[in-house]
Subunit: 350 residues, 4 copies
């Protein structure tokens, strides 16, 4: 039987999408439930959510679109940004390269992987790749690098600095490429003191970027910001063609209205980051220093095989990778719903 | 600017997805909101929803999958049922042929249209097409008919009889084709006294069929029933590759659990059908006989140009088609949320 | 076993690709066989062939590409001309709609069929379709008409007039569409006294058109003319990606050099047209008037079932269609290789 | 202007597709030119060529198909062997990974690269990859390894041993994968004394493999051998859909008939291998030892920048790669058409 058919219980600090919606979001969905509105995102909540996001990005002309899933938003948008002969450059740990079941390739595009550094693609590596490509006389037989896929924060919870993103923008200018940033966990980056990249920076540097809701307190939903709408013409039809338009589009509008009112989006990020920092410090005190230096809502530690099995048995955190020396890297993910008790449970088991 | 970016108000009896969720569904989402569960449909609510649907279909071995959108469920499933060299036969009014922006073709498959009869594909027309195809010596140069796409009820609110579906099943057997039924509005068919096709019949006749939630009282979501799971191997991965897996999959599980408890799904259908029947009778009494003889939740009438403009101005019902004689066909769609007042508003405007 | 694996004998006047190459073409391939040249069309013969074609089209800036197969050139080029959300409008008898196994749909695009008139799409029908599309408020959910596919001559051997092609060009201007003409049998159109459309006209009206070699005396090969090269950027890479670049590209260059020297291309067309005209007249004299009024190298007649069987038994001409009254339409196709004897054989059998 | 539009002269030992056809092949094309035969490979020459290839492979039930281009045969066949959720494992130097412009990805499949060893994928590396994949609990979110792509000889002219191919076969059995071998230069492997893999071995080990003509003396063309025809159902239609069927299919039949008569295919390989061995020895004597230990028709040496420029200026051999120390790897490719004089020219320039 297919793997999707089994059923298992919840995991402590296993992910940031284990619960439903942040209470404030849920409240809005309840409040507006009986209202009647036109479909496919042409309602007033969606219009207002787009306005609020434009305002937060200081980009009044941006187009904003809403999706339900992260794999969908990545594949549809990259497919629209890329020309048919182009591929997308990404770190080998990029979500599109590893855990989206080949969605980008299904759309006809190669994911060109370069070795990542704690989840980050280095502008220097990227520059070298492009330079070599354009120096190769047989390049017309080779997939053209057409876009950069970055995630902020990365799959390892690390952050790109503004200087790094500017370096990618410069590469885009030089080689006519697009910059796409996957912000599935963007709330945690924006709320992070170490972060120097604002929504306005993203809007001024990217061809498109996402503002995640699924992992950041929404019931469900992701937003796509396209600072220059001409970059993605007829994008509603493109989304529809991919089955990515929700008939009851206002559900996404209602949620993003709330996320971008009274600073809720960043507040959700801040709460989770603080929990993660507390956990990280306590783990280090117990002899488990962070395996990756990450300032956001994910904490990675290395444990021996026996400890690993104990954590898994008690449904505490998740498997990340098996190391050559027989040890394991385990990941804990915090969210708005993480509790002091969750942290204590983890510590107690170690 | 893209058409998706504008915003307009709600329409009376314009569609069955204008409001949020049926109160009983919303209640369940609220009740379970704080619970923690594993992702991607591996939670216990999704497991139970699959069980309830299997039970309702009297098909204990069926695989059940949940999607968020109807275009998505049609395109992904047909893509998986069809071999690369096959196309799908459908009535020319079929939703996949007209209003899904070419999603099936995006997946590489031709939609082969035959003239519909009040929205229905006729088994006789279908048989003739297949017979001719297999008599053609150049058929290896021609797209092979690989599946039938039917909708129950159809886009015109009409119903296939059990005898008709059996005729299609027989064609499938003879020509090695698949039978796929789009049940986006299935609740209205199931609740209809004229209907003689049960969920168990669908499970015994179809290779795959859908049970719509978006247009039948759910907040969002569609279920896919695959009576013989081997027909769609590795389907979780196929869905993931299409961006069709919701990380917080339990949201779909919770909703379908409720829809298939205490007969809610059919109750939603019944209420709406009754409102539609009331409206239809009142319209006929006022001199507007039904343009299509439909027993479900949609009512079609023909009006002159001036009446059409008046209805549109007052946001009553929706444009369906412009006729050659200058008149218009207008559609009214009922739902669980339709009120006596809605019906009165329409009648008052005529 | 697959249908492609059986083997049968040759057919008299069955097609215009039954023999090898016109002797003058073969001679050139022999003469140049031992020469060494760079690959993938970067040789001097291909360069010269492109120049000769540009000259014949009076279009010095055109890009010219060479392919091996007609289905390939249609699918790759239409795929490149169309945006992802667009489909191509064609007559229902169009080769892409009927006998290319769904190659255009494989590339993700819908073929939107309108009823043809002796194989021709009517500008009036096309205009009406586009007008209705843009008047439809739900058009963002519907495949956008993005190009016209015409064949010159058509699959029925009929011709578009210059006035008709100008009408299509005007529709393209009005609705931002592309005009693509499949010239698989273009030699027969160009050589036809009734024809008023020159290569220069095609170059001034089309976004892309093909000059067929396979059915017009070449050993193999088709040429694509793109009057404005910017319409198909990076097209070499696009072709490569579709496996449509011949490593020994000079073979195509050598052949098209010869076809466009000393008027060979039109001479091949003229010879075949004359044979067809002779056959057509003789058939009419014998009581078999043309079923379609065609001035090029194809002749269609209607015969009763017994005559049909006799023709097929003697391998004379090919099945075209079975008619409702039990009769058959048979097609005879002339070429440079058709002989007086071939014509006599057909007449003798009737 | 597109890169494909320029024109340059021939290169000495630059490739094995610089000339036309081996004289014996050309002779057959001339001899059969005037014959009339049915199209699309249903002629008697194609039938006989299929028989000859089956015989050479000692595999009487095999299906054999003919294509015109190598990129085409790889992409269409891999696309047909793989399920939608599968990717193909290959060495990073594999032709499909580097120089086919993303043709496999265009078909929706990921090329999963592992580091190659002189162009070869190691069975041990492949086994480790598969083992890890199936041990990963999130594997349903990851592209499934569905086939191995090997080339014999490889892009570096090296050979897989029978033992290695058996190891891959065993992995295929264990993980339900397909084994595909690209034999674009197979003649050179078959003719090589160091080679212990026969055509019969390939037929017994592979799900599909190709017998190259373009680089092995044919005017053009590649053959595909499918030992178990059921592995690729309806493959003629699949080819047609990809524009990969030549209307004048007999051209391919005629050529492969000749290649598999009187041992011509291996003779072509032997001649070229001997020339390459002579060149390699002479280069080593002059202080240029082989950069890769290859027994087939390609010779790789490393030269300093000045020598590299001199070779390129005199059109001798081709650029392969630029090394970190400023030197260059140059490749010389021998063929049936390579002459003693060619070898002398290279030696004289060093």
């Amino acid at each position: 039987m297919d793997d999707s058919q089994h059923s298992i219980g919840g995991i402590v600090l296993g992910s940031d999408y284990s619960e439903g919606a942040h209470p404030a979001i849920l409240e809005e969905l309840i409040r507006t439930n009986a209202e009647s509105s036109p479909g496919y995102g042409s309602d007033s909540y969606s219009a207002r959510a787009r306005d609020l996001i434009r305002e937060a990005c200081q980009c009044s002309q941006a187009a904003v679109y809403f999706f339900t899933s992260g794999t969908q938003i990545n594949a549809v948008t990259l497919g629209a940004l890329l020309s048919p002969w182009e591929g997308v450059l990404a770190a080998d740990s990029a979500h599109i390269a590893s855990h989206e079941a080949g969605a980008v390739e299904l759309g006809g595009h190669k994911v060109i992987c370069l070795p990542g550094h704690d989840g980050k693609l280095s502008p220097a590596d990227a520059a070298l790749y492009c330079e070599k490509y354009y120096a190769d006389e047989t390049r017309d037989h080779i997939v053209t690098p057409g876009a950069f896929y970055l995630s902020q924060p990365t799959e390892y919870g690390t952050l790109y600095s503004l200087a790094e993103l500017r370096a990618f923008r410069e590469l885009c200018r030089r080689y006519r490429m697009s910059l796409y940033i996957d912000g599935a966990r963007l709330a945690y980056a924006l709320a992070c003191p170490e972060n120097d990249v604002s929504l306005a920076d993203l809007a001024s540097l990217c061809d498109a970027f996402t503002i995640g809701g699924n992992k950041c307190g929404a019931l469900f939903g992701e937003a796509l910001v396209v600072p220059d709408p001409d970059r993605l013409p007829r994008f509603f039809s493109v989304m529809k063609q991919h089955g990515a338009v929700l008939s009851k589009g206002r559900l996404l509008g209602v949620q993003f209205c709330r996320l971008f009112t009274d600073g809720l989006y960043e507040e959700i990020g801040r709460t989770a980051n603080e929990t993660a920092a507390r956990l990280s410090k306590a783990l280090a005190d117990k002899g488990y220093p962070p395996a990756v230096n990450t300032p956001t809502n994910q904490v990675f530690i290395r444990v021996d095989a026996e400890t690993f099995r104990r954590l898994m048995e008690h449904h505490l955190g998740g498997f990340w990778s098996a190391e050559e020396d027989g040890s394991y890297t385990v990941r804990f993910v915090s969210s708005w719903a993480a509790t002091r008790r969750n942290v204590e449970d983890v510590l107690a088991a170690l």
